[in-house]
């Protein structure tokens, strides 16, 4: 489906911005619209609660054991990734699939185009896949003369609009029904209300006509099973099944970290994936594909190609960051993250992968200095670690990245001077007391001159701090200190108890 070039470059820019990426600047755009921030908040909170409920129902007090086991299985696979990939290539080839290896995005795009052209494909249907987003496959196919349609409802809307997905599971979390209806009216000439049911019906009818003529299907994969060579694909809408069942040629693009050792591991991992994403016990459709169909089939030709993609994943393989590759892209950590919910969703992260997991892997895949803001985009509250089905310690990973950023860039003279003075004050109780006294005095004064009253306490807030400290108050107010500080309180308390 063609879209005008300006909107196309807009969408590319959203997830592949000029580097180094400036998160603050981007967030000014993503938080501009209050309605959209609120919607993201609501959806993320609902999903978070649904996950919580279904986990408790299913596993009760075994939740920690479950995630430990799942984490161990994925970790084990990564520890032996070369072996399991080899095994997967072997068994997938045995069941009749063609396996290709791509070092980077450009190579993966080339393989895709070559396969499509060797079959003379004209019309491609795609199911939602973050990895194809990552390698910018859509625009490559279109410029290769292959009409390409996103078929996941959210991605379809994003494609029509020249926008980019803002959540790895629910791509249009940032849009409202009115704007979607407007897009459908403008781009498809559809007469529709803004009722989600009507909108879905428009997409259904439109895409059903596309399915009939499609001669190429492109999907991602949720798991690749090493011992059986099986491709596992989970979808709710059914578009993933059209993509894999109807066109004669199917291409699967999957990151190398998707491999798991045994088919039986699915009995655990499938239980976790859907519950973590949406709170369902299982996605509506879970397809286990064991090679192209062969006989007893009126639909004669069928070819399945699997492209295994590295594209920076091997940068994460060294032991300290290896656990990040356990991720099964369930999106639970995005929904749980207060920063994601306030930042206006995924576009704030300037990368296909957003939220806590995006903050951790994007700098490693695309360069720490290119994305130095991302590791800081976390309050380290630990919520992401708690919900992660494969037990990735995301806060720790983010701390490590911050450390790396600091050791890479030598801090400025002023900054080191400030820290040296701070250390001095901490060393001598006398200096500490003196500075905290002056601090109190000055902030009080500041509070009186520029401050606003807090409606919940009789404290004042500093609205505009002077000089170096002005940055602190650009996006928040500074509270004036309480009348008693901790030391003061402690002394009084001890006096009270001794008398």
């Amino acid at each position: 489906m063609s879209q005008d070039t300006s909107s196309e470059s807009h969408s590319l820019h959203l997830l592949n911005p000029p580097l180094p990426f400036d998160m603050k600047l981007r967030m000014q755009q993503t938080t501009e619209n209050d309605g959209s921030v609120q919607r993201i908040q609501n959806t993320a909170r609902t999903k978070f609660a649904q996950r919580e409920k279904s986990y408790t129902e299913a596993f009760g007090d075994r939740q920690t054991d479950v995630k430990t086991l799942a984490g161990q299985i994925k970790q084990h696979t990564l520890d032996h990734l070369d072996q399991y990939l080899e095994q997967f290539i072997q068994s997938a080839t045995k069941s009749g699939m063609k396996v290709h290896l791509a070092r980077d995005a450009a190579q993966a795009r080339k393989i895709c185009l070559n396969i499509a052209q060797s079959h003379g494909c004209k019309c491609c249907i795609k199911s939602k896949s973050m990895v194809t987003e990552e390698i910018q496959l859509l625009s490559a196919l279109e410029s290769g003369g292959i009409e390409t349609y996103e078929t996941d409802l959210g991605e379809f809307i994003v494609q029509l609009d020249g926008d980019a997905p803002s959540h790895i599971v629910t791509p249009v979390i940032h849009k409202d029904r009115e704007s979607i209806a407007r897009t459908f009216r403008q781009k498809l000439g559809a007469e529709t209300t803004s009722d989600p049911e009507d909108l879905t019906e428009v997409a259904r009818q439109y895409l059903r006509n596309v399915y009939r003529k499609a001669d190429l299907g492109i999907s991602g994969a949720n798991f690749l099973v090493a011992d059986t060579g099986t491709i596992v694909l989970c979808t709710n809408e059914g578009n993933g099944r059209f993509v894999t069942e109807v066109p004669p040629v199917h291409i699967v693009v999957a990151g190398i970290e998707k491999v798991i050792p045994r088919i039986n591991d699915l009995s655990l991992l499938l239980k976790l994936l859907a519950r973590s994403s949406t709170g369902q016990p299982l996605t509506v459709y879970t397809s286990l594909i064991n090679g192209p169909t062969q006989h007893g089939d009126p639909v004669s030709t069928h070819e399945i190609n699997v492209i295994l993609l590295d594209n920076g994943r091997s940068n994460l393989l060294p032991a300290p960051t290896r656990s990040l590759l356990r991720c099964i892209r369930c999106g639970a950590c995005l929904n749980a993250c207060p920063v994601f919910r306030h930042a206006g969703g995924g576009h704030a992260y300037g990368s296909v992968y957003s939220g806590p997991i995006g903050s951790a892997i994007t700098p490693l895949m695309r360069g720490v200095s290119n994305y130095s803001d991302l590791p800081k985009a976390s309050s380290l509250c630990g919520s992401c670690h708690q919900v992660c089905p494969v037990n990735i310690n995301l806060p720790q990973q983010l701390i490590n990245l911050r450390q790396e950023a600091v050791t890479q860039q030598i801090p400025s003279r002023l900054e080191s001077l400030i820290y040296r003075l701070f250390a001095l004050c901490l060393r001598y109780p006398f200096l500490y007391r003196a500075t905290s006294y002056f601090n109190k005095l000055f902030t009080r004064l500041g509070g009186i001159s520029t401050g606003a009253h807090d409606q919940f306490s009789n404290r004042k807030w500093v609205k505009h701090a002077p000089w170096l400290f002005r940055h602190w108050t650009t996006c928040r107010d500074l509270p004036t200190p309480t009348s008693k500080n901790f030391q003061h309180w402690w002394i009084l308390r001890n006096r009270g108890s001794s008398s």
Binding site: I73, Q90, E245, P281, G296
Partner: protein
Amino acid sequence: MNHRESSSNAHASTHPALTNMGGCNQQEFLTRLKDPLEVTPTHDEFACPPILDDSIFRTTASDEDVVSRFVSQAKAAGTQIHETNENDLCSTINRILTNHKCRNVSLGFVDSPMDQRLRAYFSAEKKLDICPPSSDNSSYLFNVDAGITDVCAAIAETGSLVITTQSRHFRSISLIPPMHIAVVNRKQILADLIDYFDAFRDDVKPKPGFSTLFITGPSKTADIEGELVVGVHGPRSVHIVLV
């Protein structure tokens, strides 16, 4: 030579990844991974993955009343359940079809006696057309009102149907028509997903061309403002006829 090397070499020599479409050479690709993995000749044996202790993640015990659990879970996923017996099977299906004003159906049965029985029933009373899989693609299915299939198992924990098939066309019968009717025998219901992977070990093992589908309710989405809509690309309704 230790176990790992022998198995790797065997893999590499028989079925390497393809390079004819511009892909990377397998040896080169995997070697790049070995460095960060710190693969040394001493850490070479093919370690076993952690044991899947199902007491940790089983959600449904096999001595539970699996039938009623299946029914309630399937309903929760939006599936409609019609309980019947062996004798009334055909008439139950017929009733569902007439209630929904279906004019034609497509059948996808692995169990051929059942297939024959239904064909005989529908053609004897000229009730409705059975579309044969005669053309060389699935496109005729876009004009079919309902697809009827049997299943190879059902799962109580999730309310899912399991269909294993070698035929792409057969798979599409449960996808393209707006209504899917599945015939499930109570004996086919397994308690937990774990039981499927255990009981059907050989079935789930790769027989080339075999694919397995887990179907849990009608197709749905919550993409637009998180509001649930049923019937996106796949069937709008799924009916289970429980015998």
